[in-house]
Subunit: 190 residues, 2 copies
Amino acid sequence: MEHKSANEMTALTAMPTNGHRAYFPGSMPREEAGDAGSVAHLELVRCIERLHRRYLDLFRVDLMRIGADDLSPAQVMMLFTIGPDDLSVRDLIDRGYYLGSNASYNLKRLVEAGYVERSASVRDRRSARIRLSDKGRQLCELVRGVDEGYHRLVVRDDGELRDLEITFRTLRRIEHTWTDALRSGEARIA
Amino acid sequence: MEHKSANEMTALTAMPTNGHRAYFPGSMPREEAGDAGSVAHLELVRCIERLHRRYLDLFRVDLMRIGADDLSPAQVMMLFTIGPDDLSVRDLIDRGYYLGSNASYNLKRLVEAGYVERSASVRDRRSARIRLSDKGRQLCELVRGVDEGYHRLVVRDDGELRDLEITFRTLRRIEHTWTDALRSGEARIA
DNA sequence: AAGGATAGTTCGAAAATCGATCTAAAACTG
DNA sequence: CAGTTTTAGATCGATTTTCGAACTATCCTT
């Protein structure tokens, strides 16, 4: 938490539109063979990693503008993962694939900063019930407002809307595939 | 670096296929209005964040199996960002959207561990030339092999291949949009 | 009631992040 | 050419994050 942005040596100044090679699907050892030149899973993974890093930079700036400089991007995202629901920490963990201790850590900050309310469940007193506070909901509104700007930049016509939908659907499918793979992978160990 | 995996309280045990609500496009404050219920940019962002976290878990396990337990997932990804090329640190930074000091930090480890070779440029002696070593290339081969397994899980027919291509193309477009937004956003400040 | 599973937190060590320096080598500028 | 400014990149120190291993408290089973 607490970061003043204003990147120094970051990639900010230079887009991928840099000099030499294409860098598009070209920046990895041989790929001409095998998949007949189509996009490989690994390229997508790399893209996701890059996008994630990129969005963090962008989002941090936006959060600063909004005035939510007491939260890290990941913490704000966590607010959206909670959403309008009233859930247990376990549910939150499952939704966001968080590690238990990390979820606790971030949740603690969210509660301390007043974005999330926590109370003990009546039925099971081990279990905590979490939900957004008004402050939390307000922040979500603001973020959603900012995001609409990006939405408009990204989907400018029906074709792009359709692509976005396919993209979302595909990513969800991949998410599911990975989760399965992870589960069965661990099964061999356990 | 150095992590023994074997998550404890992680989401490993429970997929998003958990109890109560749908959670699909449902876990955020109101979205029925406006976009006519279609996928919003923000949902995609959240998905990317989740996928990133998820893949980290998966990849760490794979790296362990491969025997590359001296590198973090991000560092291995950096190898692919270097790819077959011979580039300067600046190029690497631009390609991967790294922060300068982080790139240095990771690069140092890659060089120390023998995956990357660095030498000074002849023309500009400030500039370093970076490239994969044999060891680095070998690791990339191994990872690529593992990845082919996931590729087959994810694209099982032509339709899915087409979706993957659209997804990749769309994500690249978004990446570009964000980079632009970030650049022009910072411009106002600078 | 005893033993085990579950929910969630806390702790300490390790690692990652970030911006501010800092060095060295270009590249300008007069 | 001396003087200044830029650029490439490494390094430093402070902060934040990540992770797994305890640990506490409650619940469930028998």
